[in-house]
Symmetry: C2
Subunit: 308 residues, 2 copies
C-alpha cells in the first residue's frame, strides 16, 4: 500500500571525519522516500526552488517515487550545512537557509488521497496537523519532531500528537518532550499518554526501542529493542533518522496486517535502512540497493542479537 | 567450576536522584562475587580493615562465597563516596580513601589454586599480572580496567592484556585504550590486537557488545549484542559493571563447553545481573535473588529483542 510523506527536500553541505561534500540532495522527505521506496510506493509532498533540476527529480523517479506533490516555487531550495566532529550522533549546524521552505504550505494532490499510510516528517506541528486532516482516510500516521518545536510550539505539538499513531524521535527529544524526565521508561510512558499508540526512540549507534501503549497493536506493554550494527566507517550520519523512519514505515505499509510482530520487524528494517544511509555521504547509500541486500542485512541484525 | 576474583572490597556512600545511603557494602570484587554466586562457586581475593565485621562476612557466606583470600589488615577498609545527577551512567566521586587497599598485595590461598576461571577486577595491571601468574592453571581469564590505568600505566596494562582472554570495559575506555579511535568497531579491533580473544564493551543502559578475535571461540568475527532492559527506576548504578562481569563470568564458569554460544548467553546473563544490581542501593539488588528470577529476566531480555 502506498505511503505519503510530507517534509523537507534540501541541498546539504556536510563535513565529517571521513571527508566533505557539497550540494548533496537531502532533506527529511528525500531520505524517508528513498528508504521506504524499497518496500512500497512512496508519494512526496514538499517544495523545491528553481535550482532543483530534472537530474534531482530523476533520483526520485528511478525509485518510482511520486513527485507530483513537490511544488516548484520561485527562489532557492532549502539549504543546510553542518559538520560532525567526534560524536557522530550530533551535527553542528554551520548554516540553515530555509529559502522556499520558509513559506511551505503542503498541498496534497488528489491522486495521493487514497494512500492509507502517512508520515509527517519534522515540520511545524500545525502543518503536520493540517496534512493529517487532509488525509482523513489513513490507517496509520507516523511522525517526527525536534527540540525546536518541543520548546517553541508545545501546545501545537501536543494537539498534533493526538492524531499520530506512532511518534519516532531520539533519546534527547523524548526526555525533553516528557518535561525532562531522564528515565527512558517513564519518559516513554508520559509521551504515550499524550496520544501516540506507539513510540519509537532512536538511540543512534545503539539501535532503537519501541514502546507500546497498553493494549495497542496487541496485548501487553513490553517494549522491544532493535540493535544497530557496529559500522566500520560512518561517513555521514545526516538523514539516518529519516532513513530509519522510511524503513520502518515503508515495511509497515507493505504488510497487510498491523500488529506487534509487524512493528517489531519494522523496527529492524528501520535500523537496517539507517545503517545503509550513514555508510555514504548524502543519499548515496540508499540509491542503489536491492531488496536482497536489505534482507541480507536484516538477517545480520537478527544474528547480531539472537541466541540459538 | 569455581572462579577466583581479585579486586576491591569497600564501603560506599552513594547519593542518586532516588535517595542516598551510607556505609554500603561495595567494591568490585563484592559485586562480582555476589552476581557470580548464582551460577558457580566464587572465591575472593581482597583486603579489608578492622572495621569490616562478621556481619559483612556473612553476606558472602550466605552466598557460599569463599572468603579465605580476604586479608584482614590493620586500619580501615577502602571507602568511596560518589553521587549521580542526571546521567546515571556517570558517577561523580566525592571522596576516595584507599586505606588498607593502598598497599594491597593479593595472596592466593592454596585452596584456590585449582580454580579454572579467574577474574581480574579493576586494580593496578601489575597486580593483575601477578595474580594471573600465580593462577597458571586457569582455563579462562577475564579482566577489567579503567581510564586511570590506561592513562598512567599503559605499558604495564598492555603486558597484562596479553594474558587476558576476555576484557570487559565500557565505551569510553575502549576508545581511550585504542588511542582515541572513536569508531567502536575499529577501536574493538585495535584492542583485540593487543591480546584478548574477546572484548566485551558495556554500553550502560543500551546493553553490551562482544567482539571476537577472528577464529577465537569459533568461526568468524561477527560481533554480538545483548540489550539492557529499560528499567523503571535506576536507584544506584554503582557496581553495575562488576555485576555484569559477575553474571558473564559466572555463567561461563558454570558451563562445560567454552564456545561462542556460551559467550553470547553469558552476555545476556551479564546484562541481567547488571539490571538487578541497579534497582537497589549497594548490593541489595543482588542479595536475595533466586535462579528462577534470574532466568525469568533472561527470558524477558530475550523477548525484548527476539523476533518470532
Amino acid at each position: 500500500m502506498s505511503i505519503v510523506v510530507v517534509g523537507s527536500v534540501a541541498f546539504d553541505n556536510v563535513a565529517s571525519p571521513s571527508g566533505k561534500a557539497e550540494n548533496l540532495l537531502g532533506g527529511a522527505a528525500t531520505f524517508f522516500a528513498l528508504a521506504a521506496s524499497y518496500f512500497t510506493q512512496v508519494r512526496v509532498v514538499g517544495v523545491v526552488g528553481d535550482d532543483f533540476t530534472d537530474e534531482h527529480f530523476e533520483v526520485f523517479e528511478k525509485h518510482k517515487i511520486d513527485t507530483r506533490g513537490i511544488e516548484r516555487a520561485k527562489g532557492k531550495t532549502f539549504r543546510w550545512g553542518g559538520h560532525y566532529v567526534d560524536n557522530l550522533n550530533e551535527a553542528k549546524t554551520d548554516f540553515t537557509e530555509l529559502n522556499v521552505f520558509e513559506k511551505f504550505e503542503p498541498r496534497i494532490p488528489n491522486e495521493y488521497r487514497d494512500s492509507k499510510f502517512l508520515f509527517l516528517a519534522n515540520i511545524h506541528p500545525d502543518l503536520q496537523a493540517l496534512v493529517r486532516r487532509e488525509m482523513n482516510g489513513v490507517r496509520l500516521t507516523g511522525g517526527d519532531t525536534m527540540n525546536y518545536w518541543i520548546q517553541r510550539t508545545r501546545p501545537e505539538l501536543e494537539r498534533t500528537l493526538k492524531v499520530m499513531n506512532v511518534l519516532l524521535i531520539n533519546d534527547t527529544e523524548v526526555k525533553m518532550l516528557a518535561s525532562n524526565e531522564t528515565n527512558l521508561l517513564r519518559a516513554a510512558r508520559k509521551v504515550l499518554a499524550m496520544g501516540p499508540q506507539a513510540l519509537v526512540v532512536k538511540h543512534g549507534e545503539y539501535g532503537a526501542t519501541i514502546f507500546f501503549r497498553e493494549g495497542s497493536f496487541g496485548i501487553g506493554s513490553h517494549p522491544f529493542r532493535a540493535p544497530a550494527l557496529p559500522i566500520e566507517e560512518v561517513k555521514d550520519p545526516t538523514g539516518a533518522g529519516d532513513s530509519f523512519a522510511g524503513g520502518f514505515m515503508g515495511y509497515i505499509a507493505s504488510q497487510s496486517e498491523l500488529n506487534r510482530e509487524v512493528l517489531k520487524r519494522a523496527l529492524f528494517y528501520g535500523s537496517v535502512m539507517g545503517s545503509f544511509a550513514v555508510e555514504e555521504f548524502g543519499t548515496a547509500g540508499l540509491q542503489n540497493l536491492t531488496r536482497g541486500e536489505i534482507d541480507a542485512r536484516f538477517q545480520l541484525f537478527r544474528e547480531l542479537t539472537h541466541l540459538d
